[in-house]
């Protein structure tokens, strides 16, 4: 009898162990390590996102240009250059109306160069009229688009993760695309109004994350956010997102970003947009050294905060630089003639990019000059010739041998 009992127990144990072992791990998932450190795992291996934001608009075109159907396939030229640099991920802000073309881009980059894709969605943020996140029909419309996107591309081997929204949280205070609802309008206190918007928006994101997880357990869902603003509310109402994908422009340092997130909303962070322009608005000339200096410093901080580095909070998964190529249309998007010129006028001011902050009116940020590669008016293979800037080589070398500080001699294992 005793023997039978032990036999049964052993069988149960073996069955359970086998069943557990057979349960497949998601293709891409976030592993939580000790002390709330996080690691992105892809195909069973740790993966540091070494990314770039990708929107290859040629000289003379604007954001409406359909590069997806460009017969010269710019992503093939770019993918090769990216691979040589060490880029393993691109970030696309949103897909395109023709899913076959989107699939082709994702496949070409992955199959030819091993480059994966973060696929984003604006969540209707730039639609007219302004986004009404408290409006059920609007929510349903966006939800339908999101689930279609996930269903269409979830089986593409090149997909890395989904990123929902960009800087939509800036609408809570009405800074951008102000929106409201009857309930919010009745509230007299503006701080409470702001909270109500955040609650509605993040609850919606949470619902989307839940729906995505149901149909696609293989890819994490990121909450796109400008800085860390509003995340104390997201903590309450969006617990089901897997990570935060932040847009950060803080010059040479991310400051206390990583610890601050840990204290606010303990989720891993992917800095999905950061960078520096390559034009000195004060001296009025291109300055590739300046761009390379900022980017190297930013990557150093990203690496200092990866799970592998025991000295940091360990909640960073990597980043995606803004951006791969210059975009010549950005300074004056309504003037087709201006798209043909590489405009040197600054669009905004940011003191943390301090080399050229003494430019007139402190306007030092040159939106058309953020490319890791510059565009030439010379045409090669039907495309504007790509000319890698100094940052291309500096970051390539950093990724090969991530030196986190001469004094500390800290190194992170290359992945």
């Amino acid at each position: 009898m005793k023997r039978f009992f032990y036999f049964t127990l052993t069988c149960i144990f073996l069955f359970t162990a086998t069943a557990l072992a057979a349960k497949p791990q998601p293709k891409v998932y976030i592993k939580k390590l000790k002390n709330s450190r996080y690691q992105l795992i892809v195909d069973g291996k740790p993966y540091i996102v070494k990314g770039v934001c990708y929107n290859p608009i040629p000289i003379g075109q604007n954001h409406e240009y359909d590069w997806w159907s460009d017969p010269n396939k710019p992503w093939l030229v770019d993918g090769k250059l990216m691979q040589e640099m060490g880029v393993n991920t691109i970030r696309l802000y949103q897909g395109h109306e023709d899913p076959q073309e989107v699939k082709q881009v994702i496949r070409d980059l992955y199959q030819n160069y091993g480059i994966r894709t973060i696929l984003g969605h604006w969540l209707g943020f730039w639609e007219y009229p302004c986004p009404l996140y408290g409006d059920k029909p609007f929510q349903e419309k966006v939800k339908k688009e999101i689930l279609e996107m996930v269903n269409l591309y979830k089986d593409e081997p090149g997909i890395l993760l989904w990123s929902l929204g960009n800087e939509n949280n800036y609408s809570f205070s009405g800074q951008v695309n102000s929106w409201s609802s009857d309930e919010i309008d009745k509230e007299p206190d503006p701080a409470t109004q702001k909270f109500m918007r955040a609650k509605i928006y993040y609850s919606f994101i949470n619902a989307l994350a839940g729906e995505i997880h149901k149909i696609d357990p293989n890819h994490p869902v990121a909450l796109g956010n400008g800085e860390l603003i509003g995340l104390e509310v997201a903590k309450q109402f969006a617990p089901d997102v897997d990570l935060i994908s932040c847009i950060i422009y803080r010059g040479k340092t991310f400051g206390n970003l990583f610890n601050s997130l840990k204290a606010t909303f303990d989720k891993p962070i992917l800095i999905v947009e950061f960078g520096a322009d390559a034009y000195d608005a004060y001296l009025k000339k291109e300055d590739q050294n300046m761009q390379a200096f900022f980017l190297e410093s930013q990557w150093r901080q990203i690496y200092e905060n990866l799970a592998e580095n025991k000295e940091g909070p360990g909640n960073c998964l990597g980043g995606a630089m803004f951006e791969w190529t210059d975009e010549w249309w950005k300074h004056n998007e309504n003037d087709a003639e201006a798209w043909k010129a590489h405009d040197t006028e600054s669009n905004w001011s940011n003191g943390s990019y301090y080399f050229d902050i003494k430019a007139p009116k402190n306007m030092n940020m040159n939106e058309e000059w953020f490319g890791i590669v510059a565009l030439s008016e010379e045409i090669a293979d039907g495309l504007n010739k790509r000319i890698p800037r100094k940052a291309y080589y500096v970051i390539r070398e950093f990724w090969k041998k991530p030196d986190l500080g001469k004094d500390k001699k800290r190194k992170v294992n290359k992945k």
Partner: protein, 383 residues
């Protein structure tokens, strides 16, 4: 014999080396004078760099009235009339004169470990916001900036020391300086300075970054020595803002409070405005001068609106990014002010306040205050 020869050779080699070392030690000056007496040959710098409300300053470099040593001291008369509308003023001793970093000059003061000077007020109680060594920027920048203050002067001569141990003094063109504000000295200040010099003192040790004790005031009262940060960072439509840091009607505590009038006229076309309290004045992350406020868990302040209903979009601490950025930021808002004094609190838990150059800030805009806004602030402090 071999041993003796070896000793002799060692001695022959070692003796001249010792002699050189002694000579070098003897050649190293023990002090380096900034100012001793008017016209003294030892003076190395000139008080030529007048800053801020320079029209408020009168200098008498041959004051015979009770010098500390010698025959003269330097008398400063700061009227606090805000002649240039800055609310602060100061004087920098420079080499060569009038050098704001555009010319080569200065001295290599490596080896000096402190700067000492003697100062007294005409009445006692005069407040010098800070004394400074170095800090000149420009094409030929000083290699260090060291500050001390605020200092409340006595009516008798007193010696003050600025610790320079561990500082890079290899190029110093701004030998010494002082700044103060009209808020600290609403009725002006007359004070004297004498015997300013760098010295070698082996007892001086490098100072670690000091964690400031709490409470740490941004603003307590109009002329309080405990005030830190300067309301110098006017942003957006700065022409729409009037600032009075010595407003005496109905303060929350003490004898004065801050009155701010935001007219909402979009003078510069921005349609918004605000003020940053900075350390030092006008520091947008260009000067390495942050306070370590790590002990703080919150910032509290009292505010009221003239009518009630004025809307401030944000009250904030930190958040300025530059070469020397604030280590973190935190804020509250929008806030609709009451007519009565109300206390507000900015939570700092989990924040890194180890390096703060931007002690406090408010910002608002026309859209939410179409007729402008008048409001009052008092007792702004880190706790």
């Amino acid at each position: 014999m071999k041993k003796l020869l070896a000793i002799a050779v060692v001695l022959l080699v070692a003796m001249p080396l010792c002699a050189i070392a002694q000579e070098q030690a003897a050649g190293q000056p023990k002090e380096f004078v900034v100012y001793k007496d008017r016209g003294a040959r030892e003076n190395h710098y000139t008080p030529s760099g007048w800053m801020g409300d320079y029209g408020d300053i009168k200098l008498n470099d041959q004051s015979l009235e009770n010098p500390h040593t010698g025959t003269t001291s330097i008398q400063f008369n700061y009227s606090a009339k805000k002649s240039q509308g800055q609310g602060w003023a100061g004087v920098q001793w420079q080499n060569p004169p009038n050098n704001w970093g555009s010319k080569k000059g200065g001295f290599d003061l490596t080896g000096m470990t402190k700067l000492t000077f003697w100062a007294r007020g005409a009445k006692g109680g005069e407040l010098i916001q800070k004394f400074v060594v170095g800090g000149i920027k420009g094409t030929y920048p000083d290699t260090s900036t060291v500050e001390m203050g605020p200092v409340e002067l006595t009516d008798t001569w007193k010696q003050y020391t600025v610790n320079l141990a561990g500082k890079d003094l290899s190029y110093i063109s701004g030998g010494f300086g002082w700044t103060t504000t009209a808020d600290l000295n609403p009725d002006g200040a007359v004070f004297y300075i004498d015997d300013v010099k760098y010295e070698v003192d082996s007892m001086m040790k490098p100072e670690g970054k000091k964690k400031e004790s709490m409470p740490f005031y941004v603003y307590s009262d109009r002329s309080s020595a405990s005030n830190h940060f300067i309301p110098s960072g006017w942003i957006g439509d700065y022409g729409d803002i009037k600032y009075d840091g010595v407003f005496k009607e109905n303060p929350y505590l003490g004898d004065s409070c801050i009155k701010v009038v935001y007219t909402g006229k979009a003078s510069q076309g921005a349609r918004w405005g605000g003020i940053y309290w900075q350390q030092p004045a006008n520091n947008w992350g260009t000067v390495d001068a942050g306070y370590d406020l790590s002990k703080a868990t919150k910032v509290t302040f009292w505010a009221r609106g003239e009518k009630g209903g004025e809307r401030i979009e944000e009250f904030k601490v930190g958040g300025v990014m530059g070469e020397f950025s604030d280590s973190d930021a935190s804020g509250i808002g929008p806030v609709i002010l009451n007519k009565e004094w109300t206390q507000y609190s900015i939570d700092l838990k989990g924040k890194d306040m180890s390096y703060i150059i931007s002690g406090f800030c408010w910002a608002t805009n026309i859209d939410v205050n179409p007729e402008g806004a008048t409001f009052y602030l008092d007792e702004i402090k880190y706790e």
